[in-house]
Amino acid sequence: MAKPVRIGMISFEHMHGMKYAQAVTEIPEAELVAVWHHDAFRGTEMATKFQTRYVPDYQAILESDVDGVIICSNNRDHEKYTIAAARAGKHIMVEKPFATSMAGARRMVGACREAGVKLATAFPMRHAAPMKRLKGLVQAGTIGQVLAICGTNHGKMPGGWFIDPALSGGGAVIDHTVHVSDLMLWITGANATEVYAEMDCLLHPIGVDDVGMLTVSFDSGAFATIDTSWVHPNETYPIWPDVYLQVIGTDGVLTADAFGQIFATYNESTRKVTHVHWGSDPDFWLVHDFIGAIGDDREPLATGVDGMRASEIAIAAYASARAGRPVPLPLTD
């Protein structure tokens, strides 16, 4: 067996970090050699949980012999850690949204290109089995030419740094657009040409957008909407997210529900109804792909450029909401 791929975690600020670290420990070809988090207590807790080492300085991970790092910081800091990791010659997977500005995204992609390291964007929805199947069917021509897509990514209101625009770059729109915009670009192979968005803080007293409705036009002639709203009630909704696509083609309609494979539990002691997702775990296969990209020296399924293109649609949505009109793509900055 080849030498395992050595991975370090940079930050658990995004809760997906725990899922990814767990996946690394479950993949035989990978080894979780160190974790860093800005808060030593939490960092140590994570190290204990995943039976690995806590290092109090992320530079120490970059100076170590890890092959790759997984960055799950707040959105603003993606750029700082990505560029530092690239300069240290480490392969990188960055949590979504890839970036909160086009200039930042370009600096990240540029630094990785220059350093010759692999740059992956954590788009687990590409690894959700219903979405993979949807892409396969669309590309096989099953529904003819794609004319329109209706997409949603709803969720609960995450709080914390997610609702501090200085750290997150916005609210629900920057948080949720990219899962769906990436799927749309990936599935259709088209380029987005225009974005219109309505958004507002309507549901929670948080001062950032918690309802977002985007309309995207593509160079193929197709159009789409993306609903990013944090509309699932935090206490009572039985599952955190939905990621749903309905694709209208000249010869038929496909719908894919990434979290459709669930069963319900009704627990008297917690007074909770829970929808338990039992489908294939997208997070595991996402990390598996990143490990494979390093081990086999190939591109990851979703690259930094993919992350940048998906982010561009979210960034354009904010520009559209400010301007009150559609914004043409590509964004100059």
Binding site: A148, C150, E198, L202, T215, T225, H232, R325
Partner: protein
Amino acid sequence: MIRVGIIGAGLMGRVHAAAYTHIPDSVLTAVADIRPEAASALAALSGAAVYTDGHELIRSGKVDVVDVALPTYLHKEYVLAAAAAGKHVFCEKPLALSLPDAREMIAACDQAGVKFMVGHVVRFFPEYAKLRQLAKAGEVGTPKFARTSRGGAFPAHGWQNWFADPAKSGGPLVDLVIHDFDWLRWVFGPVARVFAKSLTGRQLPNMDYCLTTVRFASGALAHVEGSWAAPAGAPFLTAVEIGGTGGLMEYRSQQAVGLRKTVKTPDHPIANAVPESPLQEDPYMLELRHFIHCVATGAQPLVTGQEALESLKVALAAAESARTGLPVEVNAHG
């Protein structure tokens, strides 16, 4: 006993004719259609008189109420004639294809002093009525967010395929999701602006699809999906979500099935399961019973011409947005 004449013996005419048989205060006395066999089939339900010209029905002296169940582009001619003859008027939705036409129809009924109601029947669907009632009662706090979805296969049953001609039907923004625009206005109040995309005008045979973002004057946001895009035979589905400061309500017709029928037939050994949501009282009957009650008592109908006009404004603004690619203020044109 209120005597009703139906003009138009297509799908809606048939649904209405059946409904009147369950309304004790009304009797179907006349049916008109340029296809005499279609008119006769409906008339047979109650021994009604048959006409091949709607104007003859209006002049016949056999009706107190005229139920206009014609394709949309023919509404105005018969509503104006019925009002001029002093008949109360029930008109299928959408009211008209333009605001001037709609206003002319409303004015004619006002001047004639007759009752006028438009068939925004979704307000009489119990699930939609209950969702609104709960939203108004604070079930989700202050309602601020909605998604609606409506559609399935293209309505190929239309006479001369009139649904396929946007000049006659307005396309799905004006014909189909106007149901949701009307219901959403009933829940959320006036609409400020809309942004819409549709396939209307792309020359796709018997196919259309539309997506609209609605911004209400209150600030609330809604997303409205309308589909005539599924293959023939696909089920007609609706869905609603209403979110607010204190919760969320979700409805999906697909999950609200009271009875599922799967029957072997010699031709189709693998039968399609047909879902049904049976109700003791059909929403179309509730709608028409309400109108007959208004005619009998002088009460104001739930969906007046003016209400239907406001919903038409939203639909026409959405159609304009889809054409121009720009957001459209709903009251920009008065």
